[in-house]
């Protein structure tokens, strides 16, 4: 037997259990394989159909024609609808897709088959999580491309129409036309919008991680989905609970204790809600985005660790 074949053959411990190949490389390989199969599993569930709804919504929004709206307002409305839909769809998708994974593996006994092999449970959880995050990432990229294309087309149409209208009406000097065009372009396609899209993706990563944690406790997808939505809503109010806990010193002990628990356990999704500011024209510096990404990585790591601790000794 060659040394290569010996490497492939599982080592059997004296008690009859199969030893797991150790090391970061081996673990990364298993996680990668699991992520790939999870990606395919979600593809086969035809989850990408929601992108069609998104495309229709964005195209319809681009044709909204409110009479007194200026070009700037048309573009703002389009951005609002597209980014709002992107945020909503991505969050819903992150909850539902993650909630389906473990119960589905339990139901068709795939989970037992996987864990009967030398696959540690933390590799399983991380593999599943990476797979669903990969699907979310692909969805966000596709939605971003659709949104960018429609916004660019609309922007060009608006600029051409407004400049033609202004030139026809007369009385507009070159400088006035330049100001008009600059104001319109400021509401059009720009790199700062990508920060809003990135924030949407980061939020959905946290949603995936927290839903994965819930699904390690839950026995059905329905329960996980419901709890996932509850956490989604509480997460948007978490900062209110945190303020109450830290500043309402005259409040009763139980109220403060409850708000403190909410603030400590639930993620703060308001940190990721920068879309409104970006649509209004505020610029997000790179440093702020880096901090947001750092917080996301921390959230994903901690929730994955907690999910593993809960899942490690769960009877299947």
């Amino acid at each position: 037997m060659s040394s290569r074949e010996a490497d492939r053959k599982p080592r059997v411990k004296p008690g009859g259990t199969v030893a797991t190949r150790r090391g970061i490389g081996a673990s990364a390989g298993r996680i990668g394989t699991l992520a790939g199969t999870t990606f395919l599993q979600l593809l086969r569930m035809k989850t990408f159909y929601f992108l069609l709804i998104f495309s229709i919504l964005v195209v319809v929004a681009s044709t909204f024609n409110v009479l007194h709206h200026t070009g700037e307002q048309h573009l703002k409305l389009l951005k609002d609808v597209a980014l709002g839909a992107m945020s909503l769809f991505t969050s819903l998708f992150a909850i539902v897709a993650t909630a389906l994974l473990i119960p589905s593996d339990l139901e068709d006994r795939t989970l037992q088959t996987i864990l009967a092999k030398p696959v540690p449970r933390y590799d399983y959880i991380l593999g599943k999580l990476c797979g669903v995050i990969l699907v979310v990432a692909v969805s966000v990229v596709v939605m971003d491309l659709i949104f960018g294309a429609v916004l660019y087309a609309r922007e060009e149409m608006m600029v051409a129409a407004e400049l033609a209208g202004a030139t026809e009406s007369g009385g507009f000097a070159e400088e006035d036309l330049a100001v008009l065009e600059e104001r319109l372009r400021s509401q059009g396609l720009n790199w700062n919008l990508q920060n809003a899209v990135a924030a949407i993706f980061l939020k959905s990563c946290v949603i995936c991680a927290v839903t994965m944690l819930v699904s390690t406790i839950a026995s059905t997808s329905l329960f996980t989905i419901i709890v996932g939505f509850v956490i989604f809503f509480i997460g948007h109010l978490q900062s209110v609970a945190r303020d109450y806990w830290m500043h309402a010193l005259d409040a009763g002990l139980w109220k403060r204790l409850f708000s403190g628990l909410v603030a400590l356990i639930f993620p703060d999704f308001q940190i990721f809600n920068v879309v409104d500011g970006v649509v209004a024209g505020e610029v997000i510096p790179l440093g702020a985005m880096t901090r947001m990404a750092g917080l996301t990585i921390l959230y994903v790591m901690v929730y994955s660790m907690v999910a593993y601790l809960v899942f490690a000794d769960r009877e299947l």
Binding site: E72, V179, E182, S239, A263, G281, A288, L298, L309
Partner: protein
């Protein structure tokens, strides 16, 4: 037999299955709490930074909740403020069509509370109040002249106040200053204040050059500031052809006559016979 049937007998490292499971669950809870405490100050500082970067508008109070309704309020809390504001702007259009000024004013108040940094909402709301609503009352022949003047004047002041509030929220936005100056010029006939507002607008970033000209035009009509206006107009004239618009030339000529500037010192070339 599974661990659940008799958890005590599945021992590992001297610990029963049940004890091990409970210890891991306790560790999970502890990790969540420690992480919660650790991230609290980080998230607090990020929230402060977001406010400094104007990415986060102020909180939504009970008044907003009552006006918005439950679903829109939830949507606004869930990070869809901008979307709710956009849909309210469509609703405002219907209120304008129905000449329901009270509702329109309330809708724009709501839109600007949701997105105080969108200058367009302040500009448009003020235009509806100071121009459309005021004209609706001033030209309404079914009302007595006194009531028309009273209601028309009230809406002009509302428009002015609305713009002032918008400027407090967007001090760097030249367009709001420009619109305020236009209200002083067109609705109040107050050329002195219009000149001041145009001059402030002209100093703000992105302001078009015509703001400087408009400031000088208004100053020319402001009693007691003719010399200042003459200096400003002459300065603009001297900057080149791009400022030599018919209005500028006319105002300059008027001031040279009014201030009795000697022929030799006049900026404008002498007219031929």
């Amino acid at each position: 037999m599974s661990p659940a049937d008799n958890p005590g007998i599945f021992r590992k490292n001297g610990m029963s299955y049940r004890l091990r499971r409970n210890l891991k669950r306790a560790a999970a809870g502890l990790v969540l709490l420690v992480f919660g405490i650790g991230r609290m100050s980080w998230e607090g500082s990020m929230e402060e930074e977001w406010k400094r970067l104007q990415l986060r508008a102020g909180g939504l109070d009970l008044g907003v909740r009552e006006q918005l309704g439950q679903m829109s309020y939830l949507a606004a809390l869930g990070g869809f403020r901008s979307l709710v504001a956009s849909f309210l702007s469509v609703k405002a259009f219907n209120e304008w069509e129905n000449v329901d000024w009270v509702k329109l004013e309330s809708t724009y108040g709501l839109m600007t509370r949701l997105q105080p940094r969108v200058a367009g909402y302040w500009e448009e709301g003020a235009w509806h109040l100071a121009y459309n609503a005021s004209a609706f009352y001033l030209l309404n022949e079914e009302m007595s002249p006194g009531v028309r003047r009273h209601l028309g004047g009230r809406y002009i002041r509302k428009g002015e106040e609305f713009l002032r509030e918008g400027i407090r929220n967007n001090p760097e936005e030249y367009l709001l200053r420009q619109r305020l100056a236009e209200i002083y010029r067109n609705k109040f006939g107050d050329h002195c204040r219009a000149a001041d507002e145009f001059a402030i607008a002209a100093r703000l970033e992105g302001a078009p050059e015509y703001c400087r000209r408009f400031a000088a035009y208004e100053m020319a009509d402001c009693e007691g500031r003719e010399w200042e206006a003459y200096a400003a107009l002459a300065g603009l004239y001297g900057e080149g052809v791009r400022h030599r618009k018919p209005t500028l030339l006319a105002k300059l000529g008027e001031l040279e006559e009014k201030l009795s500037i000697p022929e030799a010192k006049r900026v404008l070339p002498e007219k031929g016979p």
